[in-house]
């Protein structure tokens, strides 16, 4: 790869136990170098409680997962829908669904318009080898909405909106196929319901999302979703459950990559952010905006949680979180939206 120009980002002091950056009012790093989240969750100075789901025997957790997925079988053509980004976690979820849980999944990839080329290739290889049906669904609303957000200049967490819309489409497809179970390759760190350090970001981002979209009737469905996401999904998809196998099966990055590369021809993308992930091209823009506007978001929280759970070293987490944001990726993303780099990156203001 040619030498890429890298976007300069604000430098922040980080917790010496995890990778959360100092963010006044939200992430406070003490004189001991440890953040308030680590202290609250039992890393560093506080003894961690033993009574957690994580502490159960691995075989017990796997049998719980098997029992749980079996409850959702409908006897239809597919036992579950696997939400697939094309990255290692979601491809591994396909593998687990088929080879460990014995399910007949339907693999669904939602393309926001920013998918990197390795992602659909990984989906094609995995589904061909495992013998799984698949769908790629391209959504244009996401690009249109991102354009509106960027032009507004408001502080918005782009990934939150994208995840919500992808989730919505996945549920819609599951419903159309009579499937009551969605398997998504979310890691322990991505169990955001427990992550109170994200709530203030969600609150401000959601408020600004509503402010921007309320003048666009085409996106009334998004406003209904944002009014109450949990309520929306319960109202429109009451029978559908979403489970991540990684709550029940240990997530080991090296082992996952070994299985995927040797058995499923898996390839990583050097142009993703973080590097070698499955996140789309636009994530370079989204991550820059998050660091500028909020200081951190889901990536830092996920990585920090994996470090606390002992499933990733801090060094590896730092390496990932400090992946370069490439100027070319930002330019290409903005170009897809008909926006100029200098207009967005040079003159961005906070709401």
């Amino acid at each position: 790869m040619e030498t890429e120009r890298i976007v300069i980002r604000p430098k922040r002091r980080k917790c010496k136990c995890c990778v959360m950056p100092e963010t006044p009012g939200f992430i406070e790093i003490g004189d001991d170098g440890i953040c308030n989240i680590c202290k609250e969750r039992g890393v560093g100075t506080v003894e961690k409680s033993e009574d957690t789901f994580d502490k159960l025997d691995p075989q017990k957790k796997l049998s719980i997962l098997q029992k749980k997925v079996d409850r959702f079988k409908t006897g239809g053509q597919y036992d579950c829908v696997c939400s697939v980004s094309g990255g290692k976690d979601s491809i591994m979820t396909l593998y687990i669904a088929k080879k460990i849980l014995g399910l007949n999944p339907l693999a669904v990839m939602i393309d926001s318009g920013f998918a990197l080329k390795e992602m659909p290739e990984n989906l094609a290889n995995a589904t061909d080898i495992l013998g799984i049906d698949s769908i790629i669904f391209k959504m244009f609303d996401i690009k249109d909405i991102f354009r509106l957000f960027l032009q507004s200049g408001k502080r918005i967490y782009y990934c939150r909106l994208c995840h919500a819309l992808l989730d919505l489409k996945i549920h819609d497809i599951a419903k159309r196929y009579g499937v009551n179970l969605i398997l998504g390759g979310y890691t322990k760190g991505q169990q955001y319901i427990q992550k109170s350090e994200l709530f203030w970001i969600y609150e401000e981002s959601d408020k600004n999302t509503v402010d921007v979209l309320k003048d666009h009737p085409k996106y009334d469905y998004v406003l209904e979703l944002y009014k109450n996401q949990t309520g929306y999904f319960r109202k429109h998809f009451p029978t559908i459950a979403q489970i991540s196998p990684f709550k029940y099966i240990e997530w080991n990055e090296d082992e996952i990559l070994r299985i995927l590369t040797t058995e499923l021809k898996f390839k990583r993308s050097a142009m993703s952010w973080p590097i070698n992930s499955s996140n789309c091209l636009f994530n370079h823009v989204a991550q820059y905006m998050v660091e500028k506007d909020f200081g951190y978001a889901q990536h830092e929280v996920e990585l920090s949680e994996l470090v606390r759970a002992g499933e990733m070293t801090r060094e590896r987490a730092l390496e990932i979180s400090e992946s370069p944001i490439y100027e070319s990726a930002v330019r290409d993303s903005l170009d897809k939206l008909g926006l100029k780099y200098e207009d967005i990156m040079g003159g961005y203001t906070n709401a």
Binding site: D51, D54, I64, K67, Q191, I193, R234
Partner: protein
Amino acid sequence: MLEEVFKLLKENVVELEDVDLKEDTSLIASGYMDSYEVVMILEKLEKIFSINIELDELNLEDFEKPINIAKLVEAKRG
């Protein structure tokens, strides 16, 4: 009420089947329950106890421990 909550949790949350539940057992922070289980339990509570809990007023802290769930039901029953 607490015993009824224990029974409800054990019957509906696979993760809790073999757990020795106490009134202050952590349910969400401990990882036993996620958002799906919270909403599922909420709906079961509504049916069994003939109460109504709007999702708008859903507070995760009300589902963090069995005693909290019991108190929520008692408050809703009036």
